[in-house]
Symmetry: C2
Subunit: 472 residues, 2 copies
C-alpha cells in the first residue's frame, strides 16, 4: 500500500493552480529533490502512469514534467530501464560531489511553495503516533534478557519468544487456534503472500481466487508465482464465495473487506470453510486490521473455524508501522515445512525487532497502543462521518465502524472529477476504481477510499477540511 | 552457517562415553528439550543426516535416538514431513498445556549431565560480545531523529540513511566505489544471493562458477534459482579463475577465501576482472569478513577494480551478529532495477535496525566495535597458533592472519578421526571435507576449519583446551 512518491522519500508539493501550474509544480518538486540529494543518482522514478494514478493527475502532466527534467539533464530516460536520476548530477547533502548548481549550470531554485502535504491514501496508520518511547523501553528489556544465542542464525519460523507471544495474543484477541510451532514470522504481509504463492504453485495449484476489490500488488505477487487470480463477485453479503469454480485457494479479507469495509456474511464464512473441506481447498485469511473495530467486538478470525484449511495472516503494519516489516502467518501444520523451505530455511527477519515485539505483546504495551490508536481512529472516523453528513448530503459513508479507512459512496459518474479536484486542493486520495479488479464482474461504483488513519494528528483537521471542499 | 541444533534453540549436551552413551545422551537432551518446552509441538527436527554431520557423530546414533523418542511418544515420524515434536506433549514454560509429565506418563527426568558446550564451528562471531548497550544508544538516537515517514513502506533498496552511511564506510574501509543509489540493503548475504540468482537466471545465465571450497547452502541457493554451480580448481595462488569455461558469473571470496583462509593472488584478481570485461561476465564478491585482518591492512575490494562488472556483497553477520539480518550489495547501476524487482519492489528489512546501523556507522561506534573485535579475535588466533605449535607439532595453522576462523592442516588420513574424537570431548568442530565442493577437482586435504570467533570469552580457553586434546 505504498505510494509511489512516498517510496521515493520525497514530499511532492504541487501547486493547485492551472494545468501549467501542476506541471511546473511537479517539475520543481522533482528538480528540488534531485538537487538536494533526496533523490540520489540512479534512483528510478515511478512510471508516469503510476505516479499520475497516485497523485490523481493526468498521465500527460507527469510525462511532460519528466520530459522537462530529461531535457534539463536532471533525469535520464532509456528504453527498458525507465526514468532515472542522472548520474552526473550534483551534491547530495552528504557532500560527496560538490556544487549545488544544476548539471547544465542551472542556478538552484527554491522549492515551489504550495500544497498538498495532505494524504488520505489508505494503507498506513498514523506513523507520527508510533510509540517510539515504549518501543525503545521494550527493546531495552528484550535485549537485556535475550540469551546471546538469540543473536545467531535462527529458525526459519522466527524467534520462539515472538511466536509464543503471538500464539497467546492471537488466541485471545482474534480467536485464532494455534501454537508457536505453526506460526511463521515474515517481513510483512507481502512476504507471507510470496511464500504462500511459492508453496501453492509447488503443490500444483494454478488458480487462487481473489476479491473483486483489493490491492493489485497482492494479485501481482500471486501472478509472479505463476498463479491465475480470477475475481469473485462482490455484493450485499460481501464477497460471493459460492463462485470459486476450479480455484484451489482463495485470498479473502473476511473481518473487514478491503477496501469495501464490510465483513463477510456469516453464511458465507461457513460456506467457504465448507468448500475448503469438501475440495481440499485453502483459504488465505488477510486479517490486516482485525484489531480495529469501534462499535463492537470484532468478528473472530475465520481460521478458528478450521485451522487445517485456513492460513491466517496478520501484520504489525497497521497496528504499529509498516517500517517494522513484521507480519505473521498461522499455518496448517501440514504446510509448515513447505513454507520454511520457500522462505529459504533461515530466519530472514531481524531478531531484535522480533524480541522487542514479543516483549511489547507480553508486557501489555501492544494492547495499550492498540487501545489508544482505536480511540484516535474512532474519533477521526466519527468526525469524518459527521462532516460528510453535514457538508455533503449526497455522499454516504459506508462499511462498518472499523479499520483505518472508510468508503465514501459518491453520486454516479463523479469519482474521477472528485479525485481531480482533490489533486487541485493538494490532497492525495484514492478512488475505488484504483482498487477494482480489472476483470471484476461487479457493477462499478463511484466511491472514495479514504484513509483517515494516514495523516498525523496535526494534519488531520486540514486533511478533512480539504476532503470536504472537494466532495460533491 | 547455522548449526542444525543451534537453530533448534537447544543445547545438546552429549555424554562422551561409549556409543550407547552418545545415543542415550542425545535421547535425554532431546527429551528434556521437548519436556521443558524448548522444543514446542510441531517443531521439525533436523534430518538425522544433518544433525549427525553437525554433531560429528554417526547417522545411526541420531536415527536411533529419534526412534527411541518416537516410541516414547515425544516425537512423531511421518513419511514426507520428517520427524517432529508430537502434538500431544506437555507443558511449555508458557503453561498453555498443563502437566509436566511425559505423554505416556513418563516422570520428568533431569537433563543428562555432560559436555560439550564447546563449539568451534565457523560462521559466527562471538555473539556474547554483541555491543548491546552501544546498539541501544544508537537506536535511541536514530529513533529520536527519524522523520515519521521513515516508518512507512520504503524503497526496495533500503533506507537512504543506511545506504549513505555504507557508501562512505565501504569507500573508506574497503575501497568500494559506490554511491547510495547503487546500494541495496538485504536480510543478510543469503537474501542477496537469492536476489542475484533470480536476476541472473532472468538474464539467461545458466552457470555460476563457484570455489572448490565454500558453503553448500550458498551453492544450493544458486541451484534453487536454476543455475549450475561448477567448481573452480583451488591451488597455491588461491582459486583458479582461469578455468571459468562457459560460466557467465562467478562467486568468489577474494579477500579471504572461505574456508581456506588465503587471499586471491593479485594476478588472479586482475585476470578475473579481465575475464568479466571480455565476456560480459559478472563477479559476485563475497566480502564476508573483510574487516578482520590482523597483520596488515586488508586487501581492498575487487569491486574497486571495476564497479560495472562486480557485485560487492557485505554483511553485518560477522562484524556484529547474524541475528540482525542485515547485509548489503553494491550493484552495477545496470542491475539496480532488476534487483529491486527480484526483491519484490518493497523494502523487506526492518527500518529501525537500518536506521540504527546507519547511526552506528556514522557515529564511529561501528569502527570502535570492529577494532575491539579485531583485538579479541587476533588474540584468540595467536593463542590458537601458539597452542598448536606447542602441543601438536604435526599440525600446521594455515591461511592469513585474518577473519574468525583458521585452517589447521592435519596429517593425511586423520581428519575424520579427529572430528570423531572432538565429538567425544564434547567439542563441535568442522572438518574441511564438510566445506568441499562435491565435484571439486582439487586433491582432498585433511584439515579442520576452526571457528575461533564462535565461543564467548568465558568459554574460549576451555574450547581451545578441548581442541588441543584431540589434535594428533
Amino acid at each position: 500500500m505504498a505510494n509511489s512518491w512516498a517510496t521515493l522519500g520525497v514530499d511532492l508539493h504541487l501547486e493547485p493552480a492551472g494545468s501549467g501550474g501542476l506541471r511546473r509544480g511537479l517539475t520543481d518538486a522533482l528538480r528540488d529533490a534531485v538537487r538536494t540529494g533526496r533523490l540520489v543518482p540512479g534512483t528510478r522514478l515511478p512510471s508516469s502512469r503510476t505516479l499520475a494514478a497516485d497523485l490523481g493527475i493526468a498521465r500527460n502532466t507527469v510525462a511532460e514534467a519528466y520530459a522537462d527534467l530529461v531535457a534539463e539533464g536532471w533525469l535520464t530516460a532509456r528504453q527498458g530501464s525507465g526514468t532515472r536520476v542522472a548520474a552526473g548530477v550534483p551534491a547530495t547533502p552528504h557532500g560527496r560531489r560538490g556544487s549545488a548548481v544544476g548539471p547544465a549550470g542551472t542556478a538552484p531554485r527554491r522549492r515551489a511553495p504550495g500544497l498538498p502535504a495532505h494524504s488520505l491514501v489508505p494503507g498506513a496508520p498514523d506513523l507520527a503516533a508510533f510509540p517510539r518511547t515504549e518501543w525503545l523501553k521494550a527493546a531495552r528489556r528484550a535485549l537485556a534478557t535475550a540469551p546471546f544465542e538469540a543473536l545467531g542464525y535462527g529458525d526459519p519460523r522466527g524467534r520462539p519468544e515472538l511466536r509464543t507471544a503471538l500464539a497467546v495474543y492471537l488466541a485471545r484477541a482474534r480467536g485464532v487456534r494455534t501454537d508457536p510451532g505453526t506460526i511463521m514470522i515474515t517481513a510483512g504481509f507481502s512476504h507471507a503472500l510470496r511464500i504462500l504463492g511459492t508453496v501453492l504453485r509447488a503443490r500444483g495449484v494454478r488458480t487462487v481466487a481473489v476479491e473483486s476489490y483489493g490491492l493489485d500488488v497482492h494479485r501481482q505477487l500471486l501472478r509472479n508465482a505463476g498463479l491465475a487470480t480470477p475475481a469473485l463477485p462482490y455484493g450485499e453479503l460481501g464477497t460471493d464465495t459460492g463462485a470459486l469454480g476450479d480455484a484451489r485457494a482463495v485470498l479473502l479479507t473476511p473481518a473487514h473487506q478491503f477496501p469495501m469495509g464490510t465483513p463477510l456474511h456469516p453464511d458465507r464464512r461457513t460456506a467457504v470453510v465448507e468448500w475448503a473441506r469438501r475440495t481440499g481447498g485453502l483459504i488465505l485469511e488477510d486479517d490486516y486490521d482485525g484489531e480495529f473495530r469501534y462499535d463492537r467486538l470484532p468478528v473472530g478470525a475465520l481460521q478458528g473455524l478450521d485451522p487445517e484449511r485456513v492460513v491466517y495472516l496478520g501484520t504489525a503494519s497497521k497496528s504499529l508501522a509498516p517500517g517494522l516489516r513484521l507480519g505473521w502467518m498461522v499455518l496448517p501444520p501440514s504446510l509448515v515445512e513447505e513454507a520454511a523451505a520457500a522462505k529459504g530455511q533461515i530466519d530472514t527477519c531481524g531478531v531484535l525487532d522480533q524480541l522487542t515485539l514479543a516483549e511489547f505483546l507480553t508486557s501489555g504495551a501492544y494492547d495499550r497502543h492498540v487501545r489508544s490508536s482505536r480511540l484516535r481512529y474512532r474519533r477521526r472516523r466519527d468526525a469524518l462521518a459527521a462532516a460528510v453528513a453535514d457538508r455533503a448530503p449526497d455522499v454516504r459513508v459506508t462499511g462498518i465502524a472499523a479499520g483505518l479507512h472508510a468508503v465514501l459512496r459518491l453520486p454516479p459518474g463523479t469519482e474521477q472529477s472528485v479525485i481531480q479536484a482533490a489533486t487541485w486542493q493538494g490532497l492525495a486520495l484514492h478512488g475505488l476504481a484504483f482498487h477494482r479488479h480489472p476483470q471484476a464482474v461487479t457493477e462499478p461504483l463511484d466511491a472514495l477510499v479514504v484513509g483517515y488513519g494516514t495523516p498525523p494528528d496535526s494534519a488531520w483537521a486540514g486533511a478533512l477540511e480539504a476532503l470536504c471542499r472537494v466532495l460533491p
